[in-house]
């Protein structure tokens, strides 16, 4: 159990600058998730913590030791890989015992730890099998078990669920979360799946092109994205973006573009004043749009035409066109609308987001 600190961390390969000035303080017992599109440097960051990649510049501290020059085996970490990295020539038991054997633990202790871990994960009856006789989910459990037996200070996970089918992934996600609550070990978890990140992480780190975009609790990222990238990356279906012009009329600010004109909500007005007459990006999440009813204030209502209807059961996703913009709205399952039908949408005023067109930062 330990905190992990990354200070001005950088990684350069020959041509690629994979990780750029990463600063991160991971608290003791925290479950932190690194998320971002593929190639954004998540794995590289994790592998530097593990000691599998050399650190180009910066410093990593685990507990109170600077580990830059420590070989991986001395860092007191355990890692779970995407393809499980189970040894095909060893039984499940031997795979799980491997790290302890190499560290010359007494036999009895090894046996006890493996049994305990197997019990936690429900894989006692698999211990004598070889990895190739296991299903994907079982292999996944063994890979996790192999990390648990080590009782490390930090768990590192590199996309451990990516090779599982959707249903199993959801199930394992819950199990991992439960496991973390039970073991209370600091964990760094890498994934490209934002749902996984949101559900698992105490805090989530969004990365892109080697830069950290934002660090925060899941709902903070969802509610207050720092920039357009985070806003679009977190949440599914993704946030709608419409480039609008800020116009001044009737003593209020309006966001307008062809076929769409809504009032700038009061909470944003003061910050948008400097943008008067300029273009900005308006962001609205699909769940913050409803079909307009008579009671909705008309300043936040606009016309749209239905393009596609996607009934999901618990809700319906509508793909609509408003002027030149395409927009997705998430509406009640009771709504009955047909393709090409005209309708009116209302947005929830205090849930609208505005982004600078150039810097893409939230306004």
């Amino acid at each position: 159990m330990a905190q992990v600190m990354m200070k001005d961390l950088n990684k350069k390969y020959d041509e690629v600058h994979a990780v750029k000035d990463v600063n991160l303080h991971i608290r003791d017992k925290e479950f932190i998730v690194l998320v971002g599109p593929s190639g954004c440097g998540k794995s590289t960051t994790l592998r530097m913590v593990a000691g599998l990649e050399e650190i180009t510049a910066g410093e990593i501290t685990i507990g109170d030791r600077v580990v830059n020059d420590l070989p991986p085996k001395d860092r007191d970490i355990a890692m779970v890989f995407q393809n499980y990295a189970l040894y095909p020539h060893m039984t499940v038991y031997d795979n799980m015992a491997f790290g302890l054997k190499m560290r010359k633990f007494p036999k009895v202790e090894i046996q006890k730890r493996v049994q305990d871990a197997a019990e936690i994960l429900g894989i006692q009856e698999l211990l004598k099998r070889k990895p190739r006789q296991l299903s994907g989910g079982q292999r996944q459990r063994v890979a996790v078990g192999r990390a648990i037996v080590r009782h490390p200070q930090v768990f590192l996970f590199d996309e451990p669920l990516s090779n599982l089918d959707a249903k199993l992934r959801v199930q394992m996600r819950v199990e991992l979360k439960r496991l973390h609550e039970r073991l209370e070990t600091t964990a760094i978890y890498v994934t490209h799946d934002q749902v996984e990140a949101m559900t698992l992480g105490d805090r989530v780190v969004v990365m892109k092109d080697g830069w950290i975009q934002q660090v925060g609790e899941p709902l903070e990222l969802y509610g207050k994205p720092a920039n357009k990238f985070v806003a679009g990356f977190i949440g599914s279906p993704a946030m709608n973006f419409v480039d609008v012009k800020v116009a001044d009329a009737n003593g209020a600010l309006w966001a307008e573009t062809q076929g769409l004109r809504v009032k700038v909500p009061p909470i944003h007005t003061s910050r948008l004043v400097p943008y008067k007459g300029q273009q900005v990006t308006l962001g609205v999440r699909p769940e913050d749009l409803q079909l307009a009813s008579g009671s909705d204030p008309s300043e936040y209502v606009f016309d749209a035409v239905v393009d596609v209807v996607e009934p999901l059961g618990s809700e319906i996703l509508l793909d609509l066109r408003a002027g030149n913009s395409t927009i997705v709205a998430r509406v009640e399952p009771t709504v009955r609308l047909k393709v090409h039908e005209k309708t009116r949408l209302a947005l929830t005023p205090d849930r609208a987001h505005f982004f600078d067109l150039k810097t893409e930062l939230a306004i």
Binding site: P71, I77, M79, F81, Q82, M102, R132, L134
Partner: protein, 313 residues
């Protein structure tokens, strides 16, 4: 061989056979046999006669001097087995195979591990490493002969002579020639083994080695518990290939030097009996005596390569 083991019937869990829909299935079988015909004709067809001939001859008294050829049963084998010389030759043969194969594996593994690391000028190193194998063995053996056993008048034959004397003095007469043939075979085979094992290393998922780096305390530990077991299938195949080149090189050395630089091993002595002395029947018996050994080695390798699987989950 990885492929071979998978052709065993029943190892493919799905496929058209599950639904033996009469004519479709029959057509597939026909197509398969049609496709295999040229290969089978050329390989088995061309080889069947010589092998059968060899077996038959070994059971007769055929020799260039004998006026008639009669069936003698296993008499040739009995003579051979009673011959102390045969057992010495057999021992030498086995030692030759074991020594060269082990050496090739050791050098090959070491070299493969070196080549697996990225470094500048890697292409050139590859070329250097591959040259001994790509170069005609019949030609390089002459170069080696010239190097290690120069004729007396050559300028450096004095120096080599001292060496030869020293080696033979320590390990017994013939040790130097044995060593030079073995060295030649190792030189030629090790680089091929290395490139082959490198292919094997690259085929192993990198994460397996990453994990080993996290969990093991030393490079030696990692090598013993991870690298070596993971390479096992490739090593088995390398041993198999080593056998074939060891044979070929031995024959090359023998032919080239007119039997000078050689100690009796089973293959060459058989040739000597057959071509030089015209004792075809005895020669055939000698050549065939290696077959059981080869089959045994092969069976062991197959097992080693593909250990029987436990009942699947």
């Amino acid at each position: 061989m990885g492929g071979l083991t998978q052709v065993r019937p029943g190892s493919v869990p799905h496929g058209p056979a599950q639904a033996p829909a009469g004519s479709v299935r029959r057509r597939e079988i026909l197509v398969a046999y049609a496709l295999l015909t040229p290969a089978v004709l050329l390989v088995l067809g061309v080889l069947a006669y010589p092998v059968a001939w060899e077996v038959w001859i070994s059971l007769t008294s055929f020799a260039s001097r004998a006026e008639s050829r009669s069936f003698v049963g296993v008499a040739n084998y009995r003579t051979m087995l009673a011959d102390a010389f045969f057992w010495r030759a057999l021992a030498t043969t086995v030692v030759y195979f074991v020594v060269t194969t082990l050496a090739k594996l050791a050098v090959g593994v070491a070299l493969a591990l070196l080549l697996a690391r990225p470094c500048r000028g890697r292409a050139l190193v590859f070329l250097a490493v591959f040259l001994p194998w790509a170069y005609p063995g019949g030609v390089t053996v002459v170069a080696w002969y010239w190097m290690l056993n120069p004729p007396l008048i050559t300028s450096y034959s004095v120096a080599v002579g001292h060496w030869k004397h020293a080696v033979d003095g320590v390990a017994g007469a013939g040790a130097y020639t044995f060593a030079s043939v073995a060295l030649f075979n190792i030189w030629r085979g090790a680089s091929f083994t290395a490139v082959f094992l490198l292919a094997g290393l690259n085929a192993i998922p990198r994460e397996l080695f990453d994990y080993a780096r996290l969990e093991t305390r030393s490079a030696a530990q990692r090598f013993r518990h991870v690298t070596l077991p993971l390479l096992r299938p490739f090593l088995a195949l390398a041993v198999f290939l080593s056998f074939t080149t060891a044979f070929a090189d031995l024959a090359n050395v023998w032919m080239l030097t007119g039997g000078r630089v050689i100690f009796p091993v089973v293959g060459t002595y058989a040739y000597w009996l057959g071509i030089r002395s015209g004792e075809f029947a005895e020669a055939a018996a000698w050549s065939l005596s290696l077959v059981p050994l080869l089959l045994l080695a092969l069976a062991v390798l197959f097992r080693w390569f593909d250990p029987p699987r436990e009942a699947p989950a």
